[in-house]
Amino acid sequence: MAQRTKRFLFNNAPLLIVISIFVVAYFIAGRVYPAMQKPQVFFNLFINNASLLIVSIGMTLVILTGGIDLSVAAVLALTTVASAALLNKGVSPVIVMPLMLLMGIVFGFTLGSIIHFLKVQPFIVTLMGAYFARGMAYIINLNAVPIENIVYKTLGLTPIHIPFLTHSYVYIYAIVGPLLLLVAIYLSFFTRFGRTIYAIGNNEQSAVLMGLPVGRTKIMVYSFSSFCAALAGIVWSISLLSGYGQYAPSMELDAIAAVVIGGTLLTGGVGNVIGTLFGVLITGTIISILQFNGTLSSWWTRIVVGVLTLIFIGIQSLFYLRKKHS
């Protein structure tokens, strides 16, 4: 039993470290700023980072295959602008939302196909995708467009009260991320698709030799990532009730940082989506601390996130690289 516990601890060390760091950081923050002890502050993490969580989940799967998707933030911005434009034309949200998701899937499918069939680095292809999506967003509308649609307003402004806790609530759109997380956990741990992702990330060549559908899986992963980005765009436009081509600047980097902090190796094959959740929560906690402090400026967020990424990469290389070499 002791040995099994030890092995469990060793295998899941990065995840456990992430979780404990989050708990410790939150605890210390609560001691320093007593206002942070309110449960609502915890739920605000989900409300404020709803889009980031969704984007990061998609990004995790892409990074697990050893790729990267730099187009997510641009797809998010494009989705907000496109849905704002359509809604203001009087198109029903029932049509707009599936249309946006479909657009995301098609977008990711195209990128994934270019990556797989033309054998181009994911980095360059998704970069092109980012340029393209932002450019399209600017072509649709250069300015921020408010959304007046009643369905979006209802979705964005209806609080759901948390049972057993008074004065705590989340908005409807904040639940999308956690739900998607459950889907992603199921996908990555309990389906062939998910296990193929890990196989590709560990060694693509062996995956091919094992007869796994490498090409199909890769294209699906990029489609899923863009789907997540489009979903995050819908969530974003619901939460801010507007669309703008400059929304979410450099969110792809925040997402990558969250994934890395969550213990996923950028070389692929190691990590999971649960860690990503805590990566996002840690980023959110840092922002909350800065807000509660009040005297620190917003650019400290960037520095702290950078330093944290560095620390976590250090931890990763301690655990994984040793293991690989031994």
Binding site: L118, Q121, I124, S297, I303
Partner: protein, 358 residues
Amino acid sequence: MKKEPLLKRIRESRLFWPLVALAIIFIFDAIFEPGFFKMGVLNGHLFGNLIDVLNDGAPLMLAAVGMTMVIATGGVDLSVGAVIAISAALATVLINPALGKHLISNDILTKDATNTPLPIIVLVCLAAGTLCGLWNGLLVSRARIPPMIATLILMVAGRGIAQLITNGQIMTIYYTPYFWFGNGFILGLPVSIYIVALVLTLASVGVRKTSVGLFVESVGINSKSTYYSGISEKNVKLLVYTFSGFCAGVAGLILSSYVHSTDANNIGLGYELDAILAVVLGGTLMTGGRFSLVASAIGALVIWAFTISMYTVGVPAAALLAAKAVLVLVVILLYSDYTRRLMNRLFTRKGPQHGATD
């Protein structure tokens, strides 16, 4: 050594594809916007769209030259934009008298107001860039962190640091001698071009006349076998990242001098991606190996020629990004294995002509 046919030698040259791209853009201009090539002389120096391409493209050319060697070792430097911001922020803070004891008054605005002598400002800019590069290099070579992540750290944190330096403000420079780097002219040509030429020449000589270039390429092709053949691949990597940081530092100097101000949030934004694109345009593979500094510089020129052509033709600035995406897509298609094989099949006659090209 068998002499290759001329056509094939030209086609195999590293400069061929970037020059073709440049030519295509210029032909496009000649057809749709005949006024594009109009040049004039104003106040003793040349002006015109072509000069704009050179002058605006100078920082990107520098960044691309630095990036080339990094990519040639099989790495990537994502921190270029952030390093540009740090270098520019330092320069601005050193110049701006408003941060010193004096307040900005009208006579300071018109005069050569600075807190620090110009040579020191330049030195600090270059040193800051080099230090950032050194940091990246240490992370990559000594801590063995994958290049993308190692430089990502500085990319995320760098803009924060730059904002810390400028205190989150957009700072304006009121120091005329400093503008010389971005706006000055020597013999009718922009100063920035001379700076690029200097860096490019020094780098090319340093790379091609010594064995450094060979080391860089061998690290890119196979890092492990390089190590086993007795070359310190760690130091090679350290060197290329430091050089990339240095180039970004120079680029920051020129950019801040060009726009007379530093906005830590926006200066050099997206330069890392444009620089990578320029390098890929220049024919250096992202996986590492053979590289050409001049080809990358021409790649940077292609990007700016494209940008300025789009503006001249009347494509709104908003649509420029989408147009750039199309450019990248064309490049991807042209450089993919599939197209290469197709081209080779088209141009090479059947027969036992295959084999090494040099």
